[in-house]
Amino acid sequence: MQSGRFDSVGVDVVAYGAFILAILLLPLFLDDPFWLNRIAKYLVYGMLGVAIALSWGYAGILNLGQGLFFGMGAYMVAMSLKLQSSTSLQQGSDSPVPDFMLWNAQPGAPTELCCISPSSFLWLPFQAQWFGAVMALVVPVVIALALSSAIFRLRVSGVYVAIITLASVLLVRLLIVDAQPLTNGFNGLTDLGWLTVAGFEFDPYLTQTYYIVAVSLSLVLVLTRVLVGTRAGLILQSTRDDPNRARYLGFDVAAYQIFFFTVSAGIAGFAGMLYVIAAEFASPSFMDLAFSITMVVWAAVGGRSSLLGACIGAILINTIEATASESEMFQEAWRAIIGLIFILVVLFLPRGLAGVGQDLTARLIGMARRPSAAPDRQASRDAAE
């Protein structure tokens, strides 16, 4: 409905290119480690926006439990980094034990990672940092695959998918908080070491760390944009618009839905991993319902059916939040302002900022060609469903 309606590939190349160039060049103009780190965190949120737009905008699947995959990615890599932390016991030996395991253990338990608490052996492979990084992708993908197979093979659709994902994230959050000897419960995993590659430590406030995030986001943006332009992407969009017709045409609708749900979850897991690298902790609050809903709102503000729009929406909202909450005037009112923005955008900009951008470019292109080529605004309101 949106991209593809008019000559959008050219426009998208320019828009995506400009955005990627901007985030890659930013450190040249910004000599402030704090803001570089903060923007790195917001780029991670931007990646979450991309994940939401991919499943919601392109597949019509609203995932209200994206925090589950973000959190899983975060915890997996945080486990590895925790084992490298200087606070872990017996650090330097070949089997360090996270400090919190000791004070969650039964009195008299051996201080060995294998057996300090009943399932602490699960941590053993995470001594290798690459294992944590790989698991940060594998675990969200496997969970998403299992969950979405059940959902879409049973032809659950629409708002029911949203409710199932919502219940899932709440369930997992509950279990993680309860499994305190294994996960440090409500406090999450903190006092982490830094990501180390070939002896280089990625201090979160270094420009190098910013580049890990910025390059990752650029890759995710390009790859997802290419993906939705492929045949598979087009078929997927047809399943969103009319699943039954797509079914009659002989497409395995569920397979496409599962694939895109899982890719979206994988991106969220990847984002979780990057967030831990930038923020140095993982917490069950990543799986709070409010966070999962907030992600969806970022995407709605930026434009649910535009990958880049959703990404920018996330970055923009967070920047507004930060500036408003740090200003004298709005310190206590900033939340209300954010709430108001949400309402106004949903009411008056159903296609988000990307919709505004698309209308403008369409009008410009149209003016260059013939005056009446602007796309039908009304039609794209259906994007809501």
Binding site: D31, F34, G185, G188, T190, S285, F291, A322, E328
Partner: protein
């Protein structure tokens, strides 16, 4: 004449709304020579703001009092107040703003352990200094945190023996919110219960924020216990005490002895639900000294609420600013973390609860454990108090004693764990 908190904030904001509203991409201008900036980091929005706002207010009040009496070595303190928004992610982000961008020499903040844990990497890796005013579970030995709230031995070492010996209750039902603080309190309690010849019949947990107590109170009733030790936190407390009464349990037969129930929760549940129950804390609003009464007066004027209550974490938020001031003075005005840390060691201050001293070894604070019984008016009557402040022992559950410290100025000796 005291200014109220909001006016004070307005006055003290040297760079007004215009500068703060700008995109913020500029590095903070060098601070004026006659000012010292400090960070304040509490949740002003979100669920935890219920308590944390009072902590922020107490901190601001202390700063105002110091400024009115001439500041720190002639310099005014300028607070930079940040909102943790009841979310560890926001806490982490704001902490890095304060430490890395604003480069404040010290930050006062955090109520929950989760938020402290989320900001800790910023302070430890960037060598900042955090003043943490809340009672917590212990097991921390950071060079970058000054802890002014109670640790388990300062809440339990008098409480459990008192329950068993004075109250004559021997069968404990331990109940708490499901996170590390209640679980650690429970661990320490069990050691003390067994040492004193009591027993515990059950040890149960509920989700944080859980407010449906029907099943749990039913369990308490069936368990045959004669005292309930509650480590329940936050708004769950209110639902708990109300359900307790609704199921016909009374505190004269089966008292709730709590480690977290403070004046705030009592006021919120309605005093009649807590009458006769007990709490152990180093500070109560009911402490009957001129200093404390004056403190309550000033606080009520400051927040412009004649019914405002004062409580332990809030009182710590207040006096820790004075400890910080003394530390800066001891450091000769040198505003580095290392200098302030050295300066704060051994500082003594006459707080509303009595004399407090920062332990030079583990940077925790000597406090006086007290036990209060709640009355009809929502105030405690202090019925037992330690004769002197007790040394903080953050690793008491692993056998730490005042003679054998695990956490010393050199750091944690993990071989002792």
């Amino acid at each position: 004449m005291t200014t109220s908190r909001r006016n004070f904030l307005k006055q003290s904001s040297a760079y007004g709304a215009a500068a703060a509203l700008a995109p913020g991409l500029f590095v903070n201008a060098a601070q004026a020579a006659d000012e010292i900036e400090v960070g304040i980091l509490f949740s002003l929005t979100g669920g935890l703001s219920i308590v944390e706002k009072s902590l922020a207010d107490a901190t601001l009040m202390a700063i105002e009092e110091i400024n009115q009496s001439g500041g720190v070595m002639g310099k005014m303190i300028k607070p930079i107040l940040e909102d943790g928004a009841s979310d560890p992610k926001t806490y982490n982000e704001k902490a890095s703003k304060l430490v890395i961008r604003d480069r404040v020499p010290s930050v006062f903040g955090s109520y929950t352990s989760a938020s402290r844990k989320a900001v800790l990497p910023v302070f430890e890796k960037r060598n900042g200094l955090y003043f943490y005013p809340t009672y917590y579970e212990g097991f921390e030995c950071s060079k970058n945190v000054v802890y002014t709230g109670a640790v388990p031995n300062q809440q339990l070492s008098n409480f459990i023996p008192w329950i068993i010996n004075t109250l004559g209750k021997k069968k404990f039902f331990i109940v708490g919110s499901n996170y590390i603080y209640p679980r650690e309190m429970s661990k320490v309690s069990k050691i003390l219960i067994e040492q004193n010849g009591g027993e515990w019949v059950d040890d149960q947990y509920l989700e944080l924020g859980h407010s449906e107590w029907g099943a749990m109170v039913n369990k308490i009733k069936e368990s045959g216990c004669d005292v309930v030790l509650s480590n329940v936190v936050g708004d769950s407390v209110i639902a708990f005490y109300r359900e307790f009464k609704n199921q016909g349990l009374t505190h004269d037969v089966l008292p709730i002895c709590a480690t977290v129930t403070s004046e705030i929760e009592i006021a919120a549940m309605g005093a009649e639900f807590a009458v006769g129950s007990y709490t152990s804390f180093p500070y109560f609003q009911a402490i009957d000294t001129e200093r404390n009464k004056a403190f309550i007066e000033r606080y009520r004027a400051f927040v412009n609420d004649p019914a405002a209550v004062t409580h332990h974490a809030m009182e710590s938020s207040y006096f820790q600013v004075f400890l910080w001031k003394q530390a800066v003075e001891a450091a000769g005005g040198e505003l580095t973390t290392d200098a302030i840390r050295e300066g704060v060691k051994g500082q003594v201050f006459e707080a509303p609860n009595g004399t407090v001293t920062v332990d030079p070894e583990n940077l925790h604070t000597y406090l006086t454990p007290r036990i209060a019984q709640w009355g009809e008016d929502g105030q405690g009557t202090i019925i037992d108090a330690y004769p002197e402040p007790v040394r903080p022992l953050p690793y008491v559950a692993y056998g730490e004693t005042a003679e054998n410290l695990f956490c010393a100025s050199a750091g944690l000796d993990s071989s002792k764990l």
